[in-house]
Symmetry: C2
Subunit: 182 residues, 2 copies
């Protein structure tokens, strides 16, 4: 599975507008972010922090949900989507010890994770990177891209998710907002 | 998540009785296997091959299935379980592109993966190591331990799984049979 490196440092394709540690410890402060395919050889010198995440298979979505999502979800790198958010997340041990049907019920039937995301498509593009199995200190790196005028809608999306039953199982969350540097 | 290293070589806690490549290429021939926590520092010198796998969360089992399994499944390293099998498996891209409900339906409702395994408990102890996200060339390292007199039952278990709809999505499988060296 393709692995991507998220490197926070002094320069990069994205400038960091602000970073907020919502649960658990934050990351060292820095001004920019680069995302590149992980070659395993990046010089660690200039980075304030370095996280890796990978594209993987879907864990909860049904075929019907996948079909609905694919019909409306936009690609990344739309010219108008000059704003982005990187939200690294970790879930509790209790979450991971639940059975698949219990996690699915909390994720969708109780929390409407996919359903809430659908309400903000195609304005808010989303991409999920997995890192629980990479030993990164987070389980997921969630990535969002949107036009600046859609940031209020993005706040609303986050408020819905953060108020959900699923979020009771989130024990680390950092909200990093960015703008394209170029 | 804890990562374990499976090292095939000239010596180890398990002696290899036979190794059969059922689908896709095999592994270099060797006579023994060691399983150790992966320190990322193992000297590669003496190993014929080296695979890593990690304990991860359940992907398909419901709470009811987990409860049933836990009530009867034995621990590893029972004194009488002198035989073992290591079966590295890879599934097709088509499998991984299925939605969660489609994979669950094939895995359990159509193929009875958990149900079949239950029929052979407590004789056949099982442990699943994940490696799809570690880039190992396999998706899973499946491990079984049983007393020598239960090897015919183990063959029957394998025949049931290999004849199932789920196995139409297996594109690499190696069956390595072992006996405790000590």
């Amino acid at each position: 599975m393709p692995v991507f490196a998220f490197r926070g440092g002094a320069s990069g394709a994205w400038s960091i507008r602000k970073a907020t540690a919502l649960r658990g410890p934050g990351l060292p402060a820095c001004s920019a972010l680069d995302i590149t395919p992980d070659e395993g050889t990046a010089p660690p010198g200039a980075a304030a922090w370095h996280l890796r995440g990978q594209i993987s298979n879907l864990r909860y979505a049904t075929r019907q949900e996948v079909t609905q999502l694919r019909a409306v979800q936009p690609e990344l790198a739309r010219p108008e989507a000059r704003y982005a958010a990187l939200i690294p997340l970790r879930k509790t041990t209790q979450w991971w010890e639940l059975a698949q049907d219990e996690r699915r019920t909390i994720f969708e039937e109780m929390s409407g994770h996919t359903r809430i995301g659908m309400d903000y498509l195609p304005a808010i593009a989303r991409k999920l990177y997995h890192c629980r199995d990479l030993g990164e200190g987070f389980d997921f790196l969630t990535w969002f891209e949107f036009a600046p005028e859609h940031e209020p809608a993005f706040e609303s999306l986050l408020a819905s998710l953060r108020g959900s039953a699923e979020w009771e199982f989130v024990d680390r969350e950092i909200d990093i907002r960015l703008v394209r540097a170029s």
